[in-house]
């Protein structure tokens, strides 16, 4: 976490990635643009989850639930009230923030595996709640809701896919910027301090309960924004889109990408978006087995996540000094 110095190389790198990301929809086919659009969506969700789990140390196996809430908020708003798609995104964020905060309150009492279970339970229950008769009028029950795809505004001469991608990209950049600010400042330090030693953190004057619940809220907010964007991109929400497996996939994303790493969520998002397809191409008989092997391979080759791997590589390339290397091990990019 320490030494988040914004040096020039890093700035250039970030700028390069952003430029590349902006250029993407103009060089790739619509279908690929759609895939990368989902990568951005996942990256936002993973960023929130990593904030909670990686930085703050609260394990969530149920973030799919907030992703679902975000998606449904967007879908219901658009479907029932004709709310413009871009309005639904912040609304979904706010609603999920509240939901996350409220869930975070009882979660304060639970630690480790017990918290993991509680969040997992949330993930498992969500499809059932979405199917529930009493909510059917809004949620469309098991049928789900079909959403219309937005056109590019201001008479821009670009396709819907390109526009949606850019729209998502802008939001993603904002979300990354916010997370970056948050994590490198006073609150970010407090989050990590709580993860490393909650008792000492409290003795240092950190309101552990408040930081934890708010982190839960913010993390749910990210999931909700991601959910809303995901719903708009996929143009469809249904309970079956938000099964417990989704939450597990998000967890895989942050671990493979790199716990407590901001850049890691991008790697993680790429992994969860593309590796299942690769697995499918390798075997129709047992694609899951292939997927599992990929997981194991990544964990073994990059135990600190892809971000950690890249960092170590970078450290080896740039300096031979042991000090820096050591510092890099726990620093984050």
């Amino acid at each position: 976490m320490g030494g988040l110095y914004v040096n020039r190389t890093r700035l250039i790198l970030v700028a390069l990635v952003v430029v590349l990301a902006c250029a993407l929809p103009f060089v790739l086919s619509s279908y690929r643009v759609f895939q990368f659009n989902m990568v951005l969506v996942y990256a936002i969700v993973l960023l929130g989850l990593n904030m909670l789990t990686g930085f703050n140390g609260q394990i969530s196996l149920g973030h799919g639930a907030f992703y679902a809430i975000g998606a449904y908020v967007a879908a219901v708003l658009m479907d029932h009230w004709g709310v413009p798609y871009w309005v639904t995104v912040p609304v979904a964020g706010v609603i999920c923030f509240i939901a996350g905060f409220l869930f975070g309150l009882p979660a304060l009492r639970l630690h480790g595996h017990y918290l993991a279970l509680a969040t997992f339970a949330l993930g498992i229950s969500m499809p059932q709640i979405l199917k529930y008769k009493g909510l059917e009028e809004w949620t469309g029950g098991v049928q789900g809701i079909v959403i219309l795809k937005p056109e590019a505004p201001f008479g821009l001469n670009i396709s819907q896919d390109q526009w949606l991608y850019l729209f998502t990209l802008i939001i993603a950049l904002v979300m990354f910027w916010l997370a970056w600010n948050l994590l490198r400042g006073r609150i970010g330090r407090a989050m990590v301090a709580i993860r490393d030693h909650p008792i000492a953190a409290e003795a240092m004057g950190i309101d552990v309960a408040a930081v934890k619940t708010l982190t839960f809220g913010v993390s749910a907010l990210y999931a909700g924004v991601g959910g809303a964007l995901g719903a708009i991109v996929v143009q469809f929400v249904a309970p079956d889109s938000f099964v417990a497996l989704v939450s597990i996939t998000f967890l895989i994303g942050i671990v493979i990408g790199g716990l407590a790493s901001i850049s890691g969520v991008i790697y993680g998002a790429l992994f969860i978006q593309f590796v299942p397809n690769i697995a499918d191409e390798i075997s129709k008989a047992a694609p899951w087995a292939v997927y599992g092997l990929f997981l194991l391979a990544f964990i073994f080759l990059a135990p600190a996540g892809i971000a950690g791997f890249v960092r170590a590589l970078w450290a080896r390339l740039t300096t031979g000094s042991t000090r820096k290397k050591r510092a890099a091990q726990t620093q984050e990019t």
Binding site: G112, A116, L117, A121, Q128, I252, G292, L293, F300
Partner: protein
Amino acid sequence: MEAFLHQVFSGLANGAIYASLALALVMIYQSTHHINFAQGELAMFSTYLAWAMINAGLPYWAAFGLTVVASFFIGLIIERAIVRRVADAPVLTVVVVFIALLVILNSVTGWIFTYTIKVFPSPFPEEPLFGPYISSHEAGVVGVSIFVLVTLFLFFRFTPLGLAMRATAENAVSSRLAGIRTGWMLALGWGIAAAIGAIAGMMVAPIVYLDPNMMSGILLYAIAAALMGGIDSPLGAVIGGLTVGVLENIMGAYVVGTELKLTVALVVIIGVLIFKPTGLFGRSFVTRV
């Protein structure tokens, strides 16, 4: 009233299923401090082994014994070959390894044995035990769970090996400094857990049928049961399992209906945990500075 009793008994029978897998979870927790998400699939895989042996003509008990032994070694090998490599990694990394194992086992089993359900025989007589309430097999499952519970309890409480395993799970470095072969303790923990899982699988399969997804639902309940009972307590696992079984039935039949019964049951469990954060029978450990 009769229906109510029936629901309770059926809940107990289901609960015994959850308990049997929960015991395997407690076993692995005690010896590694992890919750093994692949435990259910491991049990399922073991049960397929037993099924294959029985199909090949082996008598039930021979297949049973061989399966338990084979599962022990499978657990051992998985620990040595795979889990060992992430021994020092953060919990979540290990969780991902478990998930990888889960999907691999699930998928490979489906591939080898196909997804059609299979009948798995019961070692217990056909006739029901208490009228229509509970079958002999279900009663048998309860009995087996209690047997495993008592064995585990005695093992951890009174044998040096049990103590060595607990010590290893808690502080591997200090354990090595006490001369404990921690590598073997972890492998042994996996082995025993896999063996218990195999027993659980063979007890469960006659009731739910054998298929590659047989355990995925049960695992969820078993985790809930183990945590509600206290993840370090074999007794808690059994009582947790039975409670979850009954609770779920009563919720579904009389309180919230079947659609939300799982949700509500989970809410109740979490409620219990909030009230008692280490589970009903879990020991609470103080961290002091």
